[in-house]
């Protein structure tokens, strides 16, 4: 073999050692340091977010259920229904408002109707002559709540909203399984004047809605609020407005007319019959 060894190669310092030898404020070193911090921080944040997401989603779902249970449980007759059927669960159903058919593509748990309404594809503009609730836009889909007795729909709870005197009024209207009889109306959000328009929360006034029909036997939409004297012919469909709160009363009537009408939940309510 003899002397065939290759000549010794000068040891090149590793890239890391060379980097460390640079002064702390060298641009190359600064840039790399910033990059490393960004990568590490991004990894930590995204790992936490992804790892905790299932738990957070479960929490949100539980919270929504509690709120809904609360609203549904206060509906007259619902408690008795739960007691009778043993059912205590409210089914959540995402529907396509235009057809009334279920919309399995919409994730009910995370659906945000207001965000969807503002979205150019998930929302639609409401034609001016139909926009009695003063909403301008609505989501294409809606999430409704169904209480069943066996296979039969007993109660549907529909989210409704419309412009009031002070701002948006949002609430739920519960309908009997016939899709025409109002069981209850409640509002979870409004900005109406305290002591005046805010009396739409008054249980006595809300109770007047119980048993009102949305449409007459000919299928005409008759539901509403009578701000003048309530005509006896309209009594099965309308309630007296709150005196001193004409605008708010009309707003409630209008939001019901919109959401129970053909551009609102009309197609869905027809599927129930």
């Amino acid at each position: 073999m003899g002397d065939r060894r290759p000549p010794p190669v000068p040891v090149r310092p590793s890239w890391f050692a060379r980097l460390r030898a640079l002064p702390p404020d060298d641009p190359k070193r600064t840039l790399l340091f910033a990059l490393a911090v960004a990568v590490v921080c991004a990894t930590v944040v995204s790992t936490t977010a992804v790892a905790l997401r299932p738990r957070q989603r479960a929490n949100r779902e539980a919270e929504r259920r509690v709120q809904l249970r609360d609203i549904v449980a206060r509906l007259p007759g619902v408690e008795a229904l739960f007691a009778r059927t043993g059912a205590s669960e409210v089914e959540t159903l995402a529907i396509d408002l235009a057809t009334g058919a279920p919309a399995p593509s919409v994730e009910a748990a995370t659906f945000d109707p207001r965000k969807a309404a503002a979205d150019p594809t998930a929302g639609v503009a409401i034609p001016g002559d139909l926009d009695v609730a003063g909403l301008e836009r609505r989501a294409r889909h809606a999430v409704v709540y169904v209480v069943k007795d066996g296979g039969r729909v007993e109660v549907v709870v529909l989210p409704v909203e419309g412009s009031g005197y002070g701002g948006l009024i949002r609430g739920f209207v519960a309908m009997r399984g016939d899709g025409n009889t109002i069981l209850a109306l409640s509002f979870f959000e409004h900005l109406e004047t305290a002591g005046v328009g805010a009396r739409i929360d008054d249980p006595a006034w809300r109770a007047r809605w119980q048993g009102k029909q949305a449409r007459d036997p000919e299928g005409r939409l008759r539901v509403g609020v009578a701000t003048a004297r309530l005509d006896p012919a309209d009594a099965p469909y309308q309630v007296d407005g709150i005196s001193g709160a004409t605008i708010t009363s009309e707003a409630v009537g209008n939001l019901l007319r919109y959401w129970l009408g053909d551009h609102g939940f009309g197609p869905f309510l027809r599927t129930l019959r």
């Binding site: 070193r29 340091f33 944040v45 936490t48 738990r55 929490n59």
Partner: protein, 209 residues
């Protein structure tokens, strides 16, 4: 533990308390102290953030380029705050809802960046950890004190349990509504600062904006 390290941990709890002496972190001290429970959770959240950010910044202090020092510190703090917020959302959703934006706003809490700059960037990780713990505890202590007064006198409860039966609940105590408003916390905090300084428990020559 040497006496130096013990001082790092205990000094900020009363004598050099970040809230009453340095007047840092006052915004959240006003916002989350209407109930003892929220104040305690906020105290723990801030302590965790300060400890973790102090340790992280202490570990990289030798390699930290001076020109981007603050940016790196804030990036680390912001990441840690997101982690704390996410953990709260996952394990204490009701509390997280009550604290709303204030957990996220820990990132702007001067205590965290202040400790990173003033202490962690020139001390070892263990000392920095103790410094974070001490300052967090000092902050939590002030929040706890203010919240106790506000909750007891403002709603007649302590940690949700009735202490003073209010008139509304059929008792004789008329709650002080003013204390539930942020301005009530402001008065309390001012009284606390004055009291501590008058009692010479805190130096009155040191003040930060």
């Amino acid at each position: 533990m040497t006496s130096d390290l013990r001082a790092v941990l205990t000094e900020p709890i009363v004598r050099r308390n970040p809230v009453t002496v340095q007047i840092l972190g006052v915004c959240s001290a006003l916002a989350v102290t209407s109930q003892v429970a929220t104040a305690l959770v906020m105290g723990v959240a801030l302590t965790a953030t300060t400890c973790a950010s102090n340790v992280a910044i202490s570990l990289i202090r030798g390699a930290l380029p001076r020109s981007i020092r603050l940016i790196v510190e804030i990036t680390i703090i912001a990441s840690l705050v997101i982690v704390v917020d996410q953990v709260l959302q996952a394990y204490a959703p009701a509390m997280s809802k009550q604290l709303s934006v204030f957990v996220g706003l820990i990132v702007t809490n001067c205590i965290v960046l202040g400790r990173a700059e003033a202490f962690a960037s020139r001390s070892g990780p263990w000392a920095s950890f103790l410094d974070g713990l001490g300052n967090g505890a000092g902050y939590a202590l002030v929040l706890f004190a203010v919240a106790t007064v506000r909750e007891v006198l403002g709603t007649g409860t302590f940690l949700g349990a009735t202490v003073l039966r209010t008139v509304a609940a059929g008792g004789t105590y008329e709650p002080v509504d003013l204390l539930l408003k942020p301005v009530g916390a402001f008065f309390l905090l001012a009284l606390l600062v004055w009291g501590l300084r008058a009692a010479r428990l805190a130096p009155d020559d040191e003040e930060a904006s």
